[in-house]
Symmetry: C2
């Protein structure tokens, strides 16, 4: 028998080591995953009312414990008070928004095709289909959203809403907030009368623990938010299983932005404001940070770049989440500085003060260098942007077309004076991303029906799905069709009476009506 190991976080603002938290041993995972499997087989897990109560209860508990959670949040993340408050509210909202989806059965996508002996090309039996939960889900929390993409974050909320037990591995940079949030979710799950295995939390800093969780036999899907290397490693483990499972990994993204000369003329100052806020907010530690911006060559572009550089240089030093992240950014900027095709726009700075502080920075390159050098199109996490200057539409379009899959892109353009350019750029941008933002930057990710937070590889491993918004449950569900089923064996959502008044596709048409009983033969 070995002694427990522990993980200890560091307060990124002070550099102080925080109290130890027990690490989960790999040997514990089979039992934890087994409990999740038992919960999945338990009828109570399919009771939407219990799941609604658990989601509501978790939100209520998080709000009630707000003061303590916000303090923990700041201490372990170094993020400011306003962010702690906003993110806690967002986390609660995500849990509650899915309550409405589950209550309306909108996640079930019910479809009814009644029997039709005259159907072409062959008589049709009665077919009724809806989505059912896929099984226990392993969730990996992100460090840059300790709450909203953490233990009770969007992935956990979506999986529980879908009816899937969750085993969540909190990010090891924030063990304290993970443990506190996990306590609230577990209590809400118990109070709602869900089986205990519906939710479990594991902690640990080793990649082996994460890989072992993905390998655990009962795990049916994986949700991850973090680095490309981390997400790809889990994807490879999942694909290599005897029974492969899907990995919904939201990974790196540069989120290139385009600024045209028309936009600069119309509102260059406002764009510079918004851009600097997008680079420095949360110390640039957002998966939707516009890491590259394409700016026209020439005087107007020069002025805009100088304006941005001056604002960044004047910004207070920013605290990064971890020492590793700070060091990674420093190494990346050192590498960039050494290149012939890149020039710094901001002066070198070595910020003083305790903890993991960095200064915001911007470098400049040409659109042609951006198009030809893959390294210039890589994500650099932190308060940094690369400004790439283009001399022609062709240079601009070639640079945009060189980008791989992205979560988001942004277009600042004056549509009235540049209509054809706007059309072409929209097409190029939409072809390689999950979201195109106009006259703004993608750093805000609203939790709504139409949100898409996802994109082609390498921004995610599953371009067809989203990890934010009301359709995020779709990742954890699969369709089942009941053919010729006696009514009493059908899920309520598929019965003629439509007791909850769900929107369903019946005989090809969307309706929320019940299906009328067949007229009795006279």
């Amino acid at each position: 028998m070995t002694a427990d190991t522990t993980i200890r976080a560091t307060d990124p603002s002070s550099g102080r080591t925080l109290e130890p938290h027990r690490e989960t041993a790999i040997a514990e995972l089979p039992a934890i995953a087994g409990e999740a499997a038992a919960a999945f087989a338990d009828e109570r897990m399919r009771d939407a009312d219990r799941r609604v109560a658990a989601l509501r209860g978790a939100a209520a508990r998080l709000r009630a414990d707000g003061e303590s959670l916000r303090a923990l949040f700041q201490r372990e993340s170094g993020l400011p008070a306003g962010r702690a408050e906003g993110e806690l509210e967002r986390t609660c909202f995500q849990l509650e928004a899915l309550v409405d989806v589950v209550a309306a059965g909108a996640h079930l996508e019910p479809i009814v095709d009644r029997a039709d002996p005259a159907a072409r090309p062959a008589p049709r039996p009665d077919l009724r289909r809806m989505l059912v939960p896929i099984g226990p889900v392993a969730v990996f929390g992100a460090s840059n959203f300790p709450l909203a993409f953490g233990v009770a974050g969007g992935d956990t909320a979506a999986a529980l809403a879908a009816g899937c037990p969750v085993v969540v591995k909190g990010h090891p940079a924030q063990p304290g907030i993970n443990a506190a949030v996990a306590g609230h979710v577990a209590a809400a799950v118990a109070e709602a009368g869900l089986p205990a295995g519906a939710f479990a939390h594991v902690q640990g800093a080793s990649a082996e623990l994460g890989a072992a969780l993905v390998r655990a036999e009962p795990i049916a899907a994986v949700a991850f938010t973090g680095s490309t290397a981390g997400g790809r490693a889990l994807f490879d483990v999942a694909a290599g299983r005897e029974r492969p499972i899907p990995v919904f990994a939201e990974m790196g993204s540069v989120n290139p932005a385009v600024v045209t000369v028309g936009a600069l003329r119309a509102r260059g100052g406002a764009i510079a404001d918004a851009f600097v806020a997008a680079i420095t907010g949360a110390a640039g530690q957002l998966c939707t940070k516009p890491g590259v911006v394409l700016v026209p060559a020439g005087e107007e572009g020069d002025r805009w770049c100088a304006d941005v550089a001056a604002r960044l240089a004047a910004a207070e030093p920013l605290v990064m989440l971890t020492e590793r992240m700070r060091d990674a950014l420093a190494a990346q900027l050192a590498e960039l500085s050494a290149r012939d095709d890149v020039d710094p726009l901001t002066p070198p700075a070595a910020p003083s003060g305790p903890g993991f502080r960095v200064s915001a920075a911007a470098f400049q390159t040409s659109a042609s260098a951006l198009a030809s050098a893959k390294e210039l199109r890589e994500e650099r996490f932190g308060p940094f942007a690369l400004l790439a200057r283009y001399g022609s539409d062709e240079q601009l379009e070639t640079a945009v077309a060189a980008f791989d899959g992205q979560l988001a892109t942004a277009l600042h353009i004056d549509v009235a004076s540049e209509p054809e350019r706007a059309r072409r750029l929209t097409e190029l941008l939409a072809a390689r991303c999950g979201r195109v933002v106009y006259d703004g930057f993608p750093t805000g990710v609203a939790v709504t029906w139409a949100m898409q937070h996802g994109g082609p590889y390498p921004s995610t491993t599953a371009a067809g799905e989203t990890s934010v918004g009301m359709t995020a449950t779709r990742r954890f569900m699969r369709p089942v069709c009941w053919q010729g089923a006696p009514a009493e064996l059908l899920p309520a959502a598929l019965r003629d009476e439509n007791p909850r008044g769900l929107w369903r596709r019946v005989d090809g048409r969307l309706t929320d009506a019940a299906i009328a009983p067949p007229a009795s033969a006279g």
Copy 2:
């Protein structure tokens, strides 16, 4: 420069070698995939009217050439005339059914969330999302449905409907029908004004050709119907790419069926009829064949098994698709015969006659052997079934629970006299399959909205999707969200006017109405 290589099929009814067809060289694939990529970037590919015309045109051409196609079909597959006719009609229907989906924009899943400055937890921008095509799709045709899952089969139809160029590899057992169908699709694509790269057909018998197609850089997704080994091999290639791509492989399935004592009493003869038809139809070469049936121990079960065995023994020998399939089945049955826990119910038979003929066969085992021996739960492709006898509900449920993921299952039960048994079995079956069929067998797969042809691994590599029915396009699409976009830059489906009257989710509610312009301030 090497000489062209050729593949030659064999007429399975006569054993005669048929005329040679040119094999595609691996070295040709980059150019073919490159043309598909060029087509994908071409605006014409996003014109729904052109795609509708191509789908309709392909169906019309296939129908017009029906006589010749049916003859080719029979000659290369050994399947009977009725099947040739039915499958050709089904293939045309699949192409035409998707026309209606595309015309109604139902594959786009449009969602509009209008800007709301008062939204919680933060002001909401205007967000509009719909599905867009994912990119060029590689399709692998199946030998057991030379038309319906072939070159112009369901996968090709769904990918083209979605807006994706298709590179299809026809099954090498039927090169003649592949080439003929490919000619019609290519002509329809050209007549509809789609770019030439929208459709390409490659032929070849080597696994290397298939793997190279999956590796081809522009390919964005793979659809496959065939064996577990074949599907998994392509899945592994796709997951190992630098940019992994999704593989929608519909693979092996045993489709276990359950017959209860109540059902035997109420309609044992009819169930035997249907079961024998399901085993012998298409010589049992269906992915939905009920390969295992759980039958009660005792006299009634004995009589039913004897009845089934007698009917199978009396059936005419059946022609299998290929020599390899015939030999594989023979080897599997020899292995089963050697087991202590399995007994033959039908006499050994070595059918005479030319070609690849086999006799229908059934073996018997116990439900407990089925539950404990994985080999008994494997798919055996061809006119064969394993009848597993259970002595109690516990034995039955343990055996059902031992099965991995399945495309379909079947339940023959007398709900009125066995309500609790029906409920428990429904739950167990639905938990491991994509479709549960009542009082029937799953061999018919209707092309409708509610159909689910898919299931947990190993029946497919993507339990969340279907390869048959109106929602089959979802595999080849991904969401894109336009945030704050000027109306003129939005796809028509997302504009306020809703010019085609699509059903959309607007501010959370489904509607087919246009969005009213904002009232002007008085």
